[in-house]
Subunit: 255 residues, 2 copies
């Protein structure tokens, strides 16, 4: 039985509470947050909440799921006592955890929203710990939740975070531009839904390199010229140009 | 019974042959292509092939699924005879079809590859015709294949094509950059697969505007600075900067 304490009451803490509390070999000892919020409905979720870090009971791991810039401060407030303390952030180094603790990272690489259910079995967990026995504990806990468990150093994790910005935030912004172009021309954006689904599905089996199509990689300069003429927003025009150039430079090497 | 003639032997013509030939109310009269290629296995697919446009039999619609820049030439080669001739291109105007024909467009907005099966029932068909009765024929034919049939003018279609470049080609290139960053740091790209799936799924229910997250929209300048430091490829750095600025300008208005 692994004893877990959850610190924080946001998206990640709430989803972790629900997922971990259903596991037989995990016991949630306490949940701390400064407002005394219960992480779920039900009497246990209500009873285990504390608002004072001095009331913390012994636990095998303290999972600190608070905003990135509060990690240093909150872990400093946890009293000393040979605790194993992990954060859940993709972009914060393991070193931000206060030095009086054994440190680790338990980063679920997925985009969580409060009211959207998450299928944890598909969420990749990126783990790191200073000591092997602590890593083993994290790994066992992650494996009760998910099929996908990876050992990832702080340095790798910070690259992974940049990669996630491109794969998630920036691709979503490409959809935003597409949406705006459609709306401005009375075209329902839903026409593009199946193409978006196919684009994402393709990279799961083929690499994104092999999936690349379109006027840029074909070096179809006449179509590129017409497209640029059609884009009135100067920033979007610039984005079209620079991505087209990058595609041509990337694939130019090989053609 | 609608009589259909297919012209061309590429991805689109082959997929259309397979989809249309299974429909009870559609008869494929002939398939033309200059190399005499059968569009599928089976004896009918072999027997209906011709390599001389002067042998064309009467048909309700001639679907010209050839490369964009061959549409004008190939439709000019089709002998006169009050034919209804459509092309399947997203980026070519209806006007490129030779003037001696009744013109139309039968554009399936999806990315086709030779060896990947397509579920036609989900493919949006964007239709256009000069005459209402021709439009009705296209619409009835599209509806035997798909639930999603749209009337789209040549002008709208050319915008849609730009939008599709952002939604498909450019989002795929964001995955390519993510992949390169991962590979260069010994991180398996598959860690990002669930995030990519979630990104695409989200815009089907929420708008891309509402799905936008990340350091750019949060105006988290410290994280942005660190990310830029980590990207060594100058073009990718530039793409990171310009998309970040565009996200901030787009959402800055509303914040
Ligand atoms: N959301 C995601 O998609 C996602 C995915 C993977 C990893 N993460 C990481 O998981 C962590 C939590 O993210 P989240 O999305 O759950 O955040 P969130 O929903 O914004 O919640 C943040 C939590 O941190 C608490 N907090 C902030 N400052 C605090 C302080 N000084 N002292 C005590 N508590 C403080 C907040 O408490 P109050 O309500 O009292 O302010 C709140 O409970 C972050 O490190 C994030 O990078 C997030
Ligand atoms: N692929 C897609 O994802 C997709 C999606 C929607 C719409 N479209 C549109 O559908 C059309 C066909 O695309 P595709 O992907 O099927 O193309 P493709 O696989 O490249 O095949 C092109 C076909 O056009 C023929 N062709 C080219 N020039 C010709 C000429 N001068 N005379 C006679 N035949 C000629 C080729 O014949 P040879 O083998 O003899 O050269 C080949 O059969 C294009 O307008 C395209 O924009 C494509």
């Amino acid at each position: 039985m692994t004893k877990v304490t959850l610190i924080g009451a946001g998206n990640v803490a709430s989803h972790l509470f629900t997922a971990l509390s259903s596991k037989d070999d995990i016991e949630i000892v306490q949940c701390y947050n400064r407002k005394g919020i219960a992480l779920a409905t039900g009497s246990y979720a209500t009873h285990c909440v504390i608002t004072d870090l001095n009331q913390l009971l012994p636990s095998d791991v303290f999972i600190v799921a608070v905003s990135d810039d509060a990690i240093a401060e909150v872990t400093a407030q946890i009293p000393a006592g040979d605790h194993f303390v992990v954060h859940t952030s993709g972009s914060v180094s393991i070193d931000s955890i206060d030095n009086k603790h054994r440190k680790g990272v338990f980063y679920p690489l997925q985009s969580f929203s409060k009211h959207k259910e998450i299928t944890f079995s598909d969420v990749p967990f990126c783990l790191e710990a200073e000591h092997q026995k602590d890593y083993d504990l994290l790994s066992a806990m992650a494996k009760t939740l998910s099929k996908k468990v990876y050992k990832i150093s702080s340095e790798q994790r910070s690259t992974l975070h940049v990669a996630a910005v491109f794969a998630n935030n920036f691709s979503n912004f490409m959809f935003t531009i597409a949406n705006e172009l459609c709306t401005a021309n009375d075209i329902p954006f839903e026409i593009l839904h199946p193409l978006i689904t196919e684009t994402a599905e393709k990279v799961l089996t083929l690499s994104p390199e092999k999936s690349q199509t379109g006027p840029a990689i074909r070096k179809d300069s006449e179509t590129i010229r017409r497209h640029l003429e059609q884009i009135s927003n100067l920033q979007y025009k610039e984005i079209y140009k620079i991505i087209t150039e990058a595609i041509q430079d990337t694939y130019g090497k090989e053609l």
